[in-house]
């Protein structure tokens, strides 16, 4: 009997063991793991997001240049949908009955009990029609949000575009973005995304097991109101931005205008441009593909991504450095027989001027003069030390902003090429000298710069020795970034600038200058033309300048690709921009010249490199500025034949643009 009595302990022990097993599992699911807690919250909580309005952008005269328009997403909760008149809904939305069915099926695939988009960004008209009969479509509701609108229909590359986030954005943001959110993908929209986007609002609603709303969660304690994005004030002057884009119509190139005293960018033209409204709304995707496929590459942001040899516009900088280093003085003359001999290599000059001074050399863009200056600069420490002296020269030029990005407030800025001496050491095995790199004296050869860098160098001259980092946005609310007040000195004394500026003034304002046709009445424009040799085709037309001479208000760089002489196109375009900016309008005979210029078609001929056959020039680049009312329907119209040909031609080059990644210099 005693033996059996002990079995009591086995039975009791079993009870205790089982109790401990139960407690162990409870301990795990209640205390160690919080999976159940999270699931419980997601059971009862539904978050409804309120989308904030993106911040507006104003130009320097406080004119709104980027604003918002209300649009409506039609949302559907599939398991609340009852049989409805599909035809009526399709009619109200301007879509087909099949699309209604397709969209409903798609929504069902995402979630049956959660509200998912049925049709995004329906028009105001559709919305108005729908509001009256929405009661006939249970399970549907509208969600209002805003999309961008660009009233002036210019500045496509400048403003960039906003697009629904993709899965990569969501992953990168570590949960900040959710499907359905929008994000700036390029241009100002991208670089100021964090300021423009505002804060999303959330309304937490409790739902029971039958998916019936049971009111707000914790009396709205965790609800958040949407906060609109902050307003940005840009330095852009929309009047000249618009004029610039019109002047560059049917031309390829860029204009950058900077206010020298502040570094604010006044105009930022990339041509061919496009209407930024094309990349808003439902036809965004199609329009984007058309832009990408366009042979003239409108998706390229030429002012910061186009790399051009600076050409003759580099000569004033040569002169400044020569003066600073003491290898020339104001009165130094060189003899120009129409060429310069660099060893046994001949650098041609356009003129035969005989003995020529610096002032006249700049005004007449004498290649010979500046080859001599370069020769003196590089050999000033003896022939043996040319390589080191070249590096010293290179570093001093770089202070003007060449060979490096200027950190403008836009994404994907490129630096341009400007090689250090070890680059040549590698190529020439350390056996090289000024004659090897003589083309750099006149801004040709291996040096390239972006239009922004060239305009910035002009701002340095206008400021007599320093620049402020060029930037597009001057203020966010009241905040001005500190780096935008700091003066970057280039190491050339102010006194050396006046003689150089004399030459630039003569260039425009005397009978022997190269840009005399671009004189502006009552304004002293100082400038320099450039005719940049282009290994791929016709020369680029370049003009740099600033005005007025005293207390300059605007510094500008204009590049028109494949347009020939700088004086023919780039210089007049710059003069119209400056006159418009300084005076508000272009007067007299020049007004009709502006119209003439707008109508010039300088688009380069498209070549099929693989076959070596010249294709005919397209008669017009039909990236029309489309009336904003029409734009929802219209897509970018480019002759389909052109697209087919050219896409086939240069896939590699297009890829670089599509990638949207800054390409490094090396």
């Amino acid at each position: 009997m005693d033996q059996l009595f002990n079995r009591k302990y086995i039975v009791q022990g079993l009870f205790i063991v089982i109790a401990l097993i139960l407690l162990g599992k409870l301990f795990y699911i209640q205390i160690i793991s919080d999976a159940a807690f999270v699931s419980a919250e997601s059971n009862v909580l539904r978050k409804i997001y309120k989308y904030p309005a993106r911040g507006a952008i104003l130009d320097r005269h406080m004119k709104v240049i980027v604003q918002n328009e209300p649009v409506y997403d039609l949302m559907v909760t599939p398991n609340e949908v009852k049989p409805f008149d599909t035809l009526a809904l399709a009619k109200a939305l301007d879509i087909t009955v099949d699309e209604v069915r397709k969209n409903l099926k798609k929504a069902r695939g995402k979630s049956t009990y959660q509200s998912t988009p049925f049709l995004k960004q329906i028009s105001v008209q559709s919305y108005a029609r729908l509001q009256e009969m929405l009661y006939r479509f249970p399970g549907f509701r509208t969600q209002d949000r805003t999309i961008r609108h660009y009233p002036d229909s210019v500045g496509g590359q400048l403003f960039g575009y906003v697009k629904e986030v993709d899965s990569a954005d969501i992953a990168k943001s570590e949960g900040f973005y959710r499907p359905g959110d929008y994000k700036g993908k390029s241009g100002i929209e991208r670089s100021y995304e964090e300021i423009l986007r505002g804060e999303k609002g959330v309304i937490n609603t409790v739902y029971d097991a039958h998916n019936t709303p049971q009111g707000s969660y914790a009396d709205g304690k965790y609800d958040i109101n949407a906060v609109s994005g902050e307003r940005l004030i840009s330095g852009i002057d929309m009047r000249i931005q618009k004029l610039g884009e019109e002047l560059m119509n049917n031309k390829v190139g860029a204009i950058v205008a900077i206010e020298p005293s502040s570094g604010e960018v006044l105009a930022f033209v990339s041509s061919p441009g496009y209407d930024p409204n094309l990349l808003v709304g439902r036809s965004q995707g199609n329009n984007y593909m058309s832009l990408i496929g366009n042979p003239y590459k409108p998706s390229m942001v030429r002012p910061i991504q186009g790399r051009y040899p600076p050409g003759s516009s580099f000569k004033p900088i040569d002169a400044l450095l020569g003066l600073q280093e003491g290898v020339i003085d104001v009165n130094t003359t060189f003899n120009c027989p129409g060429y310069y001999m660099a060893g046994n290599h001949k650098v041609k000059c356009e003129h035969v001027d005989g003995n020529i001074s610096m002032r006249r050399g700049i005004a007449r863009s004498c290649n010979t003069y500046f080859c001599y200056v370069f020769q003196k600069l590089i050999t000033r420490n003896g022939m043996k030390n040319q390589r080191q002296t070249y590096q010293d020269w290179r570093d001093k030029i770089a202070k003007f902003g060449f060979g490096q990005t200027l950190d403008i407030d836009l994404p994907f800025e490129k630096a341009g090429y400007f090689y250090n001496s070890d680059h040549y050491d590698k190529i020439y095995n350390k056996r090289w000298g000024y004659t090897t790199v003589i083309s750099q004296a006149i801004g040709q050869g291996e040096i390239t710069a972006t239009p922004l860098q060239i305009a910035n160098a002009m701002a340095v001259i206008a400021n007599r020795g320093y620049y402020i980092k060029p930037h597009l946005i001057r203020a966010m609310g009241d905040k001005i970034k500190k780096e935008y007040v700091e003066k970057n000195y280039v190491g050339v004394d102010a006194k050396y600038f006046e003689p150089v500026i004399d030459g630039m003034q003569d260039c425009v304002n005397t009978s022997w200058g190269t840009a005399i046709l671009s004189r502006i009445p009552d304004v002293v424009l100082c400038g320099k033309t450039g005719t940049v040799q282009n290994p791929h085709g016709k020369n680029h037309s370049v003009f740099i300048g600033f005005a007025p001479r005293d207390n300059p208000k605007i510094a500008i760089a204009v590049i028109v690709e494949n347009a020939g002489y700088g004086s023919t196109y780039a210089a007049p375009i710059a003069s119209y921009m400056i006159e418009k900016y300084l005076k508000g309008n272009i007067s007299g005979a020049r007004a009709s010249q502006v119209e003439w210029m707008k109508n010039q078609n300088l688009l380069p001929v498209l070549k099929d490199k693989t076959k070596g056959i010249k294709l005919t020039k397209t008669d017009s680049l039909s990236i029309k500025k489309i009336d904003s009312a029409k734009r929802a329907k219209d897509s970018l119209r480019i002759k389909s034949a052109t697209i087919k040909q050219t896409v086939a031609i240069k896939p590699r080059e297009f890829k670089a643009i599509i990638d949207d990644k800054p390409v490094s210099n090396k």
């Binding site: 205790i16 139960l22 599992k25 159940a36 059971n43 409790v206 029971d208």
Partner: protein, 421 residues
């Protein structure tokens, strides 16, 4: 003496057990109230609601229990065959005149009141088993006594299986423990345990691997005991039985179990996930319990409870309310109360002088234990869904009264423990 005479009926009653009983009933009422709480229609004494009804069941249950204490304890011994017979008749009757609810023919309607005979069959069986052991004092060494005990337990079990009510039928396996206490070989428990282990293992591991494992263990066992012929013989027998059983499971699983039972088992073993269908209940129950965390969300504050995410929450899944609103702390208290009650019942049983009382006490403890273990295990996903109530806490009159009767008969027997009969 005079005073003792006045308290004759309640003399020697173990009031601690009564207190735990009342505490568990109160916990039940509170949580049933929370489970079906509706802020628009609050009121503790709304007798059309479940908690109102439960309050009536508790009060009548208490009256029932106290009136049991008025009986002479000997009556239960004497009448046990009739009580057992009566419950068998009810079990037969329910198969004929019972109402089908959710596929189970388990209820007999008497007016507006519904009776569940399976609940009462438990104490009928317990009484007769106690009477058999108490009268004949078998040591379960011979086949005859084992068969008689199996018959007493098996008859109601088979009738319940016919309803079919697998949950209640499983509870009858708890009678193995009293028999074990009275001398049934421990091997029966081990074999039973082995069968469960093999059943589970058969789902998780391919059958041939299981056979290899069994055979190698057997071979090792035979090798170490190679001089003892009897052991070698029984080992071979057990091995053959185990392998046969493995194949039997496969067939039985497909043929005997209903599809919903199969999916419950597969869900529990993690072989299948179905959060919207068959697995919904268990998943939601675990979410509710887990979200209670250490101290719970507070009374009437559980969102899963309040917004009806756990089906059957006031009956079989009442533990999820406790878990959500009272947290790990509340769960520990409830489990602690049960374990305290169970251990106390065993101790009380052991102090009985009569075998009848002792066996009956063990039966009560073990029936309660099975209910608690299976019910809580089911709500936290370590046991497949088996629809049996949590004793004294789940909503329902039949269940509450049958546990009350079960428990108070034992308390009466215990108060008479010094007597001879």
């Amino acid at each position: 003496m005079q005073q003792q005479q006045g308290n004759r009926f309640f003399f020697n009653v173990d009031w601690i057990t009564v207190l735990i009983y009342i505490a568990l009933c109160a916990i039940g009422f509170t949580n049933i109230y929370a489970s079906i709480y509706n802020p628009d229609k609050a009121g503790v004494f709304d007798f059309t609601s479940s908690y109102g009804k439960q309050l009536i069941y508790i009060i009548t249950g208490l009256i029932l229990g106290l009136s049991i204490l008025l009986f002479d304890g000997r009556l239960f011994n004497v009448f046990s065959p009739f009580i057992y017979g009566g419950t068998l008749v009810l079990l037969l009757a329910v198969l004929v005149i019972g109402n089908k609810v959710a596929g189970n023919q388990a209820w007999i309607s008497i007016g507006s009141f519904k009776l569940q005979p399976a609940e009462f069959a438990k104490f009928g069986t317990a009484l007769l088993l106690a009477r058999y052991v108490g009268t004949f004092n078998p040591k379960f060494r011979d086949l005859k006594s084992i068969l008689i005990a199996a018959l007493i337990v098996g008859a109601p079990l088979v009738l319940i299986m016919l309803q079919p009510d697998t949950g209640s039928a499983l509870v009858f396996l708890s009678f193995m423990f009293p028999l074990y206490r009275e001398g049934l070989s421990g091997y029966f428990l081990l074999i039973f345990l082995g069968m469960i282990v093999l059943f589970v293992a058969d789902f998780l591991v391919p059958t041939y691997i299981l056979i290899i494992i069994i055979v190698s263990i057997a071979a090792l066992f035979i090798y170490t005991n190679r001089r003892k012929q009897k052991i070698i013989f029984s080992t071979i027998l057990v091995t053959a039985f185990a392998i046969g059983y493995l194949f039997l499971i496969k067939v039985a699983y497909e043929k005997v179990l209903a599809p919903h039972q199969r999916s419950r088992i597969e869900l529990m073993l993690g072989l299948k996930t179905d959060n919207r269908g068959a697995g919904y209940n268990v998943i939601q129950s675990q979410i509710a319990i887990g979200s209670g965390q250490a101290t719970g969300r507070g009374f009437l504050e559980g969102t899963q409870t309040k917004y009806g995410y756990v089906p059957e929450q006031s009956t079989d899944f009442i533990f999820s309310t406790i878990g959500e609103e009272w947290g790990f702390l509340g769960c520990s208290v409830v489990i602690g109360l049960y374990i305290f009650l169970l251990l106390r019942l065993i101790n009380l049983a052991e102090r009985q002088r009569s075998t009848f009382s002792r066996v009956y006490g063990y039966c009560v403890a073990c029936i309660l234990f099975f209910h608690v273990f299976i019910n809580i295990g089911m709500t936290i996903g370590i046991i497949p869904v088996i629809g049996i109530p949590l004793p004294l806490i789940s909503y329902g009159g039949s269940s509450l009264w049958s546990f009350t009767i079960l428990l108070f008969i034992f308390l009466k027997l215990d108060s008479n423990r010094m007597g001879f009969f």
